[in-house]
């Protein structure tokens, strides 16, 4: 049985085609998000079908997740990112007890039970300072791409202190730090630390090891370091972290298709 998961995030759309009979990912892909979310999702979905040599009629179920999930009308149902990320990470790392996902628009801390069910979760809802949006702003302000940002963060010896917890004010602060001659890597690492601090405040006392980090921001190695420091726990990056939400959605689509068939 082949199922599809579509994660319509605020920054990118991710699609995973999953063969549940053989428990393997057939294809996965990512496209930048845009205004016409559904069209972008359809295009990516069809591209992956072609690549995997799968007909649309072979797809037993489609689940959409992510911020834009309700715009994906060709999906059979929608499930939130909390449930999908939990399912995706549990599939890849059954020992995971805490999942941290830093997305473009929000961040989440999900606590899992031994069987992978969600025990509790917390999401930030106050501002962009604990999200990938903060890094995007910094990348844009410094005219750096995502990979270069990650590389610079790794080079820092003495991360700058970003005292503001508001992205807008922090931008002013960053300009000030650069004007003072603070090295770029230290500024980037300072921003990563600020995000990690916000996430740790969100997590409160919920953290239970092992901790897995997922979402596109997990590809920033400096963020992993920053999280490990504030959480005082080792943080493991989920395999292909940008796809765990879509993978979870595909797995749940399979589960749903099986229960409908029964």
């Amino acid at each position: 049985m082949i199922c599809a998961g579509i994660d319509a995030g605020s920054r990118a759309i991710k699609v995973v085609l999953f063969d549940s009979d053989h428990s393997q990912v057939l294809s996965s892909g990512l496209a930048d998000q845009g205004v016409a979310q559904e069209r972008l999702a359809v295009e990516l979905f069809e591209k992956l079908l072609r690549e995997a040599g799968v007909e649309r009629s072979q797809i037993a179920g489609i689940v959409a997740t992510g911020y834009g999930r309700n715009a994906i009308r060709f999906a059979d149902t929608t499930i939130t990112e909390i449930t999908c990320h939990a399912r995706g990470v549990h599939h890849l790392a059954p020992d995971a007890r805490t999942v941290i996902e830093i997305g473009g628009q929000d961040s989440k801390v999900i606590v899992l039970e031994a069987g992978g069910r969600v025990r509790d979760f917390a999401m930030n809802d106050r501002c962009a300072a604990g999200t990938g949006r903060f890094l995007e702003m910094v990348a844009s302000r410094l005219d750096l791409d995502w990979e270069k940002l990650a590389e610079l963060g790794r080079q820092s010896k003495t991360p700058a202190l970003i005292s503001n917890t508001c992205v807008v004010f922090a931008e002013t602060e960053i300009i000030g730090l650069l004007a003072e001659g603070k090295p770029l890597p230290d500024v980037v690492a300072g921003v990563q630390n600020a995000i990690a601090t916000r996430v740790s405040a969100l997590a409160g006392r919920m953290i239970s090891p092992p901790v897995y980090f997922t979402g596109g921001v997990a590809l920033q190695s400096g963020m992993v370091r920053a999280l490990e420091e504030v959480l005082t726990n080792p943080v493991r990056v989920a395999p292909q972290p940008q796809f765990t939400g879509a993978l979870g959605a595909a797995l749940l689509a399979g589960q749903r298709a099986r229960s409908v068939a029964l």
């Binding site: 309700n70 025990r119 979760f121």
Partner: protein
């Protein structure tokens, strides 16, 4: 004109109202179609809400939405109007003990920007007065006092201070500086008795040192004296005792209603109406006797629905304990849209739902009740009560709605969430809900949907 229990939007209520009238609906003087509140008072938010379809709910909404009108009419009849702030339930019991006195909460104006979808510009005016969005939406009362377009200026304004939230205190002080006299009374922060101190039992399974109760008693005596001077009648123990008995009639009815609704196999009344009706415990909506009639109507409706097994929310709905009132009423509809129902609540005035002891001297009884206010003691006390009520209501999750800017709940939510998780092992989330939450609906919806998914997944354990 009976109909199956359900929820209606405003347009549907227009039709339902005509049907009810044609069927001989009997209404109080403040009755009428809900639509008129949009037309006359610009309560535009009503167009975004869904309401229970019973005549009892119609009466509740009309009662709520005509409070300012009722106060103006009372003033015209020569009644003395008392504004009372922050005590949440105690001073009104005293005020209504005196014939010809009405009490209301000017800080209730915090819902006006929501109801009027900010067309009142109260929040913008408050900002212009230096009270910006970093303060609780209670700031809406400040311009409302000055422009006189909402409630009448009270003849006496009583405000508790001390163990109250900082921004509320700042707003009330600004009001005083603008020329509105305020009678301040001190509320100490409730604490456990230390060795050697006489301990005093309070409603809600709480204790406090006798010295604190004595302090509050003496403060309330001062308030009582001022109320008596206003009414030109001594507020003696006989009057107070009768006032307490009358307040307890309201509280008993509310207790029965809450038990009926929250413990029923499915919800016989929606969450939104329960939020509104619980507020009657603190302010009687400026008419204590009519509050009783409104409550009796809702209780009869809820009991009848339970007897007939007819509900407004399906039995599989996730059982949610809701903490704190929401700044935007729409959030209560949203909970049900995503498959939840309320099985218990703490809207910040749990002490006003407890019976005031009738076997104590009246001022002593009121002092003990006032000191049991969940907002004047440690959060762990409040959390303990929430946990007890979660257990009684078999809650599957807790939602704590934050009020943007409200300093009394800045850290409280996190503490309650932590204790709920630790003691009950159920999920607990915090949601920040501004006075008009439209722009946040997708994000709020996501959080509620995720919570319902989590609850349902836990059921299949």
């Amino acid at each position: 004109m009976n109909a199956l229990p359900g929820k209606l939007n405003l347009s549907e209520w227009d039709d339902r109202y005509e049907q009810l009238r044609a069927g001989g609906l009997s209404e109080p003087a403040y009755g009428g179609p809900l639509r008129r509140h949009v037309i006359r008072e610009r309560d535009f938010r009503l167009e975004q809400l869904r309401f229970d379809n019973s005549p009892a709910a119609l009466r509740l909404w009309n009662f709520l939405l005509t409070e300012n009108e009722r106060l103006h009419q009372a003033r015209a009849r020569g009644c003395q109007i008392v504004g009372t702030m922050k005590d949440l339930g105690t001073v009104p019991v005293m005020a209504y003990s005196l014939p010809g006195v009405r009490a209301f909460y000017p800080d209730g104006a915090w819902w006006t920007p929501c109801l009027m979808e900010c067309s009142d510009r109260l929040l913008q005016q408050a900002e212009a007065m230096g009270i910006d969005a970093s303060f609780c939406p209670v700031r809406a009362m400040l311009p409302a006092f000055l422009n006189g377009e909402h409630f009448p200026r009270p003849d006496l304004l009583v405000c508790s201070t001390g163990a109250v939230c900082d921004d509320f205190s700042a707003i009330a002080q600004r009001l005083e500086h603008l020329g509105q006299p305020v009678l301040w009374w001190e509320m100490p922060r409730r604490r456990q008795p230390v060795a050697g101190e006489i301990s005093c039992g309070l409603p809600g399974q709480l204790v406090a040192p006798e010295i604190q109760v004595a302090c509050v008693r003496s403060e309330l005596q001062r308030v009582g004296q001022a109320l008596g001077e206003l009414a030109r009648r001594n507020l003696d123990d006989v009057l107070l005792a009768e006032g307490i008995r009358a307040a307890n009639r309201v509280r008993r009815l509310l207790q029965t209603l809450r038990t009926t609704v929250y413990t029923a196999p499915a919800a016989p009344l929606p969450a939104l109406e329960m939020l509104v009706v619980e507020m009657l415990a603190i302010h009687f909506c400026s008419d204590r006797e009519e509050a009783l009639a409104v409550l009796e109507g809702l209780l009869a409706e809820a009991q009848s629905r339970v007897r007939q097994g007819r509900f407004v929310i399906e039995p599989e709905a996730a059982r949610i304990f809701w903490v704190n009132p929401v700044a935007d009423l729409r959030a209560m509809n949203l909970l049900e849209d995503f498959g939840g129902r309320i099985c218990g609540s703490d809207f910040m005035f749990a002490h006003a739902l407890d019976l005031i002891p009738e076997d104590l001297p009246p001022l002593e009884a009121l002092a003990r009740t006032a000191l049991a206010d969940p907002m004047v003691g440690p959060t762990s006390d409040r959390a303990a009560r929430i946990i007890r009520e979660c257990q009684a209501g078999r809650a599957e999750a807790v939602v704590i709605s934050r009020i943007p800017g409200a300093s009394h709940c800045a850290r409280e939510g996190e503490i309650i969430c932590g204790l709920v998780r630790e003691k009950m092992g159920i999920p607990a989330i915090e949601l920040e809900i501004p006075p008009v939450c439209d722009a946040l609906l997708p994000a709020l919806g996501s959080r509620l949907q995720a919570l319902m998914e989590t609850v349902r997944a836990r059921r299949t354990r």
